[in-house]
């Protein structure tokens, strides 16, 4: 018994002294954490780390999760070529920690973002190429990150996927789009009750909008996607999401009980009418703008605002014809990911 104990203690000591080995592989599956200001945020890296090219998904919300983007399509067609990085932001997804609400502030989200990149370079080498892909709220956080200090030097390119970089402009476009679509759908006799409700609400709004109105437009925009016939598959089915969560060992119940983005202080701040358009002129990295034609949540004309303001030598804009807000998982997913892969291949 004594010998067994000694053996156990010795093996524990040996393993605790070992330097962490990080191998670059064609089919890596790594999970590690960044702990910062009271939050432990999971970073899952899947795919071809040997390519030394990493595409970071900056998820939506605030309060969503990153692994939801890891569809079968991504596993087969993207991870085989490059490494995908799924980082859950603080108080989101499968992040852990004690109460840290005092850090629910864009400045700390940017700090976390910077530190995730530092950790990636520490693990996989300072010579790796990183691309940042912001979706929805992530499309606010990503340009905010790029506009700070020398952060642009850390990445090779920016992909803006139906991003919410300017809330007042977003609301303006959303109302316009909702009103136009409501008229068409009411005339066609499709979902007239809901579309009339949306139309009446939009017509009653005067700009600038209040926080509550901004949230309500966001809710109506999400609802509009589900009753828009032009979107064959607006959002991934619940069973697909369930499969992704179980396969990636996420705490399932917690996902139904997450940090509530609707009441969160960061969402409150955002819906007060924040924007990062003003600083866009500082952005010079290659940029790919991908939006869905039927996205009421983050309407496609938002891309024009970015295109006109940034100073990048390369800007490509593409509006996907059959997509809403979930463009990377809907009917146009092949087109979406081909655009991303072409962009990454070109600038890696």
């Amino acid at each position: 018994m004594k010998q067994l104990l000694i053996l156990l203690l010795t093996s524990l000591l040996i393993t605790s002294c070992q330097k962490e080995k990080i191998s670059l592989a064609a089919n890596a599956h790594d999970t590690f954490f960044l702990e910062n200001r009271g939050s432990a945020m999971p970073i899952r890296v899947h795919g071809n780390t040997a390519s030394k090219t990493f595409i970071m998904m900056i998820h939506g919300g605030p309060g969503g999760d990153a692994i939801v983007y890891r569809s079968e399509y991504v596993k087969s067609n993207v991870e085989s070529e490059f490494a995908m990085v799924y980082w859950d932001q603080r108080n989101s997804g499968a992040s852990q920690g004690n109460r840290n609400r005092q850090y629910d502030d864009i400045a700390y989200f940017i700090e976390d973002f910077e530190k995730v990149i530092t950790v990636l370079k520490h693990r996989y080498g300072s010579d790796i190429s990183i691309f940042v892909n912001g979706h929805s709220w992530g499309g606010f956080l990503t340009p905010a990150f790029l506009q700070k200090g020398n952060n642009q030097q850390q990445v090779k390119g920016w992909i803006q996927s139906a991003g919410a970089h300017n809330i007042p402009l977003l609301n303006q476009y959303a109302i316009q789009m909702l009103l136009e679509k409501a008229s068409i759908e009411i005339a066609a006799g499709r979902n007239t009750e809901k579309w009339t409700e949306i139309k009446d609400y939009c017509e009653g709004i005067t700009l600038p909008m209040s926080n509550e109105e901004s949230r309500q437009i966001n809710i109506y925009s999400a609802e509009a996607q589900t009753i828009t016939p032009e979107i064959p598959k607006g959002i991934p089915a619940a069973r697909d999401i369930y499969q992704i969560y179980t396969e990636n060992h996420l705490p399932l119940i917690q996902l139904f009980f997450p940090y509530n983005p609707v009441t969160g202080s960061l969402a409150d701040w955002l819906f007060q009418g924040q924007e990062v358009s003003t600083g866009m002129s500082t952005i010079t990295v290659p940029t790919l703008l991908l939006f869905g034609k039927w996205d009421f949540v983050c309407p496609a004309p938002l891309a024009d605002d970015i295109e006109q303001r940034i100073q990048s030598s390369f800007v490509r804009k593409r509006v996907l014809e059959n997509s809403g807000h979930g463009l990377m998982a809907g009917a146009d997913k092949e087109v979406y990911w081909e655009e991303v892969l072409d962009f990454v291949r070109r600038f890696r």
Partner: protein, 214 residues
């Protein structure tokens, strides 16, 4: 897995058969050692502890075919538990529960146990910290301390009634909440299958005893 389902069905049958009782009285509960398997296949874990009864009420209901008897038992249970959730965390927790059990003369019982405790998680992967100077360090034993509240319910069979074996087999479903967790709470459902053994020479308990006739 099949065996686990059978055991669940078996313990579930205990809840259904509560109404059927014999005329004989039931032996008083004694202190016991408990060992449970947590997780039902995913996120496995173990839980071990002791349970000490402190109150027993023998309830006798007058029926046409004779009195029906069951025991209402109250006990305090202290446990140490652990589960492993891949890529998320390992969790070690201490739990004190008040066990409320109702047992019939055939040995079937149902139970409900509210509890409070303490939890320490260990993150399920290498954890990094980055200083203001961008220096990266690995944090050892990274994880968090939480308070926990637990509610569990289930049932089982007491082999001591008919076969004189000092063993109970039980199945439970527990709901644990850990807090303060991020900006809210963390909820977790924990299935548990276990046995409770009462050695002859073990912690002496002296539960109060009452008979209530209805």
């Amino acid at each position: 897995m099949q065996r686990m389902i059978l055991l669940f069905l078996w313990t579930g049958a205990g809840l259904i058969s509560q109404a059927q009782t014999d005329k004989v009285s039931i032996p008083l509960p004694v202190s016991s050692l408990k060992l449970g398997y947590l997780g039902a296949g995913i996120h496995p874990g173990v839980k071990t502890g002791i349970e000490i009864p402190y109150k027993v009420i023998q309830v006798e209901k007058r029926k046409r075919g004779g009195p029906k008897v069951h025991l209402k038992q109250r006990g305090i249970s202290g446990s140490l538990g652990y589960y492993h959730h891949q890529d998320f965390h390992d969790n070690v927790f201490l739990l004190v529960e008040q066990v409320r059990r109702r047992e019939n003369t055939r040995g079937w019982f149902s139970e409900f146990a509210p509890g409070i405790g303490y939890s320490r998680t260990f993150l399920g992967g290498t954890t990094y910290q980055v200083s203001a100077q961008s220096e990266v360090t690995r944090k050892k034993m990274a994880g968090f301390h939480y308070a926990l509240i637990s509610l569990s319910a289930g049932g089982g069979y007491n082999l001591g009634i008919k076969k004189d074996i000092p063993l109970r087999i039980y199945g439970r479903i527990g709901l644990m909440t850990f807090f303060p967790y991020n900006s809210s709470i963390y909820l977790r459902i924990i299935p548990e299958l276990g046995v409770s053994y009462s050695p002859t020479k073990f912690l002496k308990s002296n539960p109060s005893f009452k008979i209530r006739k209805k």
